[in-house]
Amino acid sequence: MTQLALVIDLNVCVGCQACVTSCKSWNTSGSAGYLADERPYDENPTGTFFNRVQTFEVGEFPTTETIHFPKSCLHCEEPPCVPVCPTGASYKRKSDGIVLVDYDKCIGCGYCAWACPYGVRELDEKRQEMTKCTLCADRIDNPALPIADRQPACVMACPTSARLFGDIHDPDSTVSVAIRERGGYALMPEWGTKPSNHYLPRRRTEPNLREDQIMRVDNPIRIDERLPKSSIPSPSLDDTVSW
């Protein structure tokens, strides 16, 4: 069985927000329906986005780490948001495991959002329908798009390719390999939601330096410090002393 997902590499994500606005741009004009912005040019502008990038500071100066943390629906394998939906608008697609909302059925009760521990569903204030990341269901298997473009908008946008996309049930997929080899983990494992999206942790390359590497036999100092015989033509002992 296929389970599509994003794997987000915190080791390279610089927090640029490209995935945020690309997602908005793709989806607001697409089949996910418009994503409204309230007070777009006034106080406290707010709108519907499927994906947000947050920033956290870990540790204290001077050993602080700054972590940029993108988050969208994790397309859980055991999605608590689905069974609670009274209308069946929220559903998990059997073919590829994407968790979707059928807007035409949604009554806008908000209950599914309560049932998601990750805070990734957003009720569009104007449409009054629940929205969330569709994993770009309208791109990834859309025969109208060239094959290279059949990827989520955010994945194509990401300048650091911090967003990997694929089937986590296929052990040979890039996402599975990344999870396996680079310590991919899930968020809030304590709830048993089995998020499909995973995160790859920061890795640090430490300096690798030994004392004995610094001075080497072919050190240029050996050339440069051997001063030439005649420097300034000042008298030498030979010129002034006779034995």
Binding site: N44, V53, E65, P86, T87, I107, L187
Partner: protein, 315 residues
């Protein structure tokens, strides 16, 4: 969570309606068993059912205000196999329909009323379970995920319904007021016990999720700097009440006093008196209902959703 008026009214109104019905039905049972005598049975049961129906109807109307698309509300019956909300959506109208039948049975003085009442009672209890389970089933809302939530919804509904029954009785069946009042005391006291238990439990709760598990970063000191937007979002509006801890505490004391302490004192006072005006019974119900609104507000406000870990700071 950010308490929504619609849901507060929905749950308190139908709870009181359900409680009222159950009180009536228990009385009917008791009278059938010759434990008590009812003079104006038609007036009592018909008016009682009507009031319960009215409350449930108001609750239902309130619930529509919670929906983005009320016109599609009918769809909500679809997922009864998995969704407690869906079940509630199915059970509530059935309950209301049964209330009509029950009231009519009394109006028409059918013999069947007891049987109708029995079915209604089962549905009524089911409705309590559905409502309670809507909250109790969300396991990561730890304040809610407990049998105490179910018991609370049940007992608070019964207590307020019983207080209301007292008031109804004061108009149409004054002899029963004491019986109802005694029951109301009992129910209110048990509700107080259970609600206190849940307060104590919630106070001791250790959140299972932390910023560490939310981010998968294991360091004792993690602080959010930015949540990716500054003017708010659904996630900040829906899940944060934005009130100070002080207000929260005040609301808690308000509901403890209004839902429990005052009604209990007044009801005890009533029991000791020989004659009591109907107005006082009404007042008791109103006080308790006001307390209940606060209790429900607090119930939502106190629930700390793990998603909130992601929405602490803007910059």
């Amino acid at each position: 969570m950010n308490p929504a008026a619609s849901v507060i009214f929905l749950t308190t109104l139908i709870g009181a309606g359900q409680g009222l019905f159950l009180a009536l039905y228990v009385v009917e049972l008791a009278s059938r068993l010759q434990l008590i005598r009812i003079e104006n049975s038609v007036a009592l049961f018909v008016s009682g059912s009507l009031i319960a129906l009215l409350l449930s109807g108001l609750g239902l109307i309130a619930s529509f205000f919670h929906l983005g698309h009320p016109e599609r509300a009918w769809r909500a019956a679809a997922m009864w196999r998995t969704s407690w909300l869906s079940r509630e959506v199915i059970v509530l109208p059935i309950f209301m329909a049964l209330l009509i039948v029950y009231g009519y049975a009394h109006f028409a003085q059918w013999d069947m009323s007891l049987a109708v009442g029995a079915v209604t009672a089962v549905v009524c209890v089911a409705l309590f379970i559905c409502t309670g389970m809507i909250y109790a089933c969300i396991r990561f809302l730890q304040e809610w995920a407990s049998p105490l939530t179910l018991m609370n919804y049940f007992l608070l509904g019964c207590a307020s319904g019983c207080s209301l029954a007292t008031a109804v009785a004061a108009f149409v069946e004054p002899d029963l007021t004491r019986t109802f009042a005694a029951a109301a005391i009992l129910l209110t006291a048990s509700a107080l016990a259970v609600r206190s238990a849940s307060l104590v439990r919630n106070k001791r709760l250790k959140p299972k999720s932390s910023l560490q598990t939310a981010l998968g970063i294991h360091h004792p000191r993690i602080v959010q700097k930015s949540q990716g937007f500054m003017g708010g979002s659904f996630n900040t509006r829906e899940f944060f009440h934005g009130k100070t801890p002080h207000i929260l505490r005040s609301v808690k004391w308000f509901f403890l006093v209004f839902t429990f302490i005052l009604p209990l004192l007044l009801l005890l006072l009533v029991l000791g008196r020989s004659t009591v005006s109907a107005a006082l019974f009404c007042t008791i119900f109103v006080i308790q209902y006001a307390g209940l609104l606060a209790e429900r507000w607090f119930f939502f406000a106190q629930a700390n959703h793990p998603q909130n870990l992601y929405y602490k700071t803007i910059s």
